[in-house]
Amino acid sequence: MTMLKRNIAIALAAAALVAVTAIAATAQDGDSTPPGSGVPQATTIEEAAKDAAAILRTERTAEDAVRTELAEKIDEHGRFGVNTALSRLAIGTISNSLYLLPATGHVCAALTLGEGASMSCVPTDELAAGNVGPGMAGLPGGAIAIWGIVPDGVDSVTVAAGPHSTEVETQGNAYLAVVPAGAAVETATYTGPSGRMEYAIHDPAAPEPER
């Protein structure tokens, strides 16, 4: 191969590498940025959040702390500026703990599941208005946890699940109901500042429908 041909081959190889690099870099970026990414971390509990939920007006105690390893993970992802150092424990059972986690313009809630947790965040004004849908989590053995947060003034939440329907009292601006495996879960309902709210609930482990 002459020197000229060798240089052309190298130039083509270099061009191909640059093209691959550009395509790969684009793919790595993806098309989506998770919501609430890059929001500055809350340093205090916002007044609007305190106004919406009495538990956020209470003094924080050692009992309110999220387990260190989990707290680090939540803070590391930092959705909506959530700050686990401001957490309040609303409900604690042998198996699960439900925390309110103040964020920036939002209030997040986390239900512990083994070593981990399920978490969701809502705008503070939506919490104040009582427009917060429930979360669902599959538990060991197939039971389903239906859980969520509510503003002051909501005393109970009704979970419709056929013969396993139940009405649970709220505790610390939160609720947690557990229905057995296989229960036909239907809705979660409560009455708050915006009136009667009804949300459909689903078994997270439900099989895919027929295509």
Partner: protein, 133 residues
């Protein structure tokens, strides 16, 4: 005309840049963004649809969200499962508009991360997963 040493150096530099772009950065762990346009109710969406990474990994965080207006009309669910066995790492979770699941310590690089939606019709949803290992 380029000298041989210059050509080699140029190729090495380009290869380094290309490798850096393709491989995930260790500082940020391994990440996957994925999204599905107008996904039917109840069907799982994963990186095969459209995303940054399609493959198995030790996903210890999986997150899903509705791409439209968050008016609590769309329930988003997520799960991490092992295609080889069909079993979920843990049971999945759901929440309105947005859901995130921290899975704890995951060692096996053998899981797929997916999201799905429940609403009155087809909806566009997105997901993000990352792995510490």
């Amino acid at each position: 005309m380029l000298k041989r040493k210059t050509r080699v150096a140029l190729l090495c530099a380009l290869a380094t840049i290309a490798t850096g772009a393709i491989a995930p950065t260790q500082a940020d762990a391994f990440v996957s963004y994925y999204n599905c346009t107008l996904k039917p109710v109840g069907l799982w969406c994963d990186g095969r649809a459209n995303g940054s990474f399609d493959g198995l990994h030790s996903w210890d965080f999986n997150e899903g969200w509705y791409d439209g207006s968050w008016d609590s009309s769309v329930l988003v669910c997520e799960h991490v499962w092992k295609p080889a066995s069909g079993n979920e790492l843990q049971s999945g979770t759901c929440d309105y508009n947005h859901v995130a699941h921290y899975y704890g310590n995951v060692q096996c690089a053998c899981y797929e991360a997916e999201v799905r939606q429940y609403s009155t019709g087809n909806r566009s949803i997105s997901g993000y997963a990352d792995a510490a290992f």
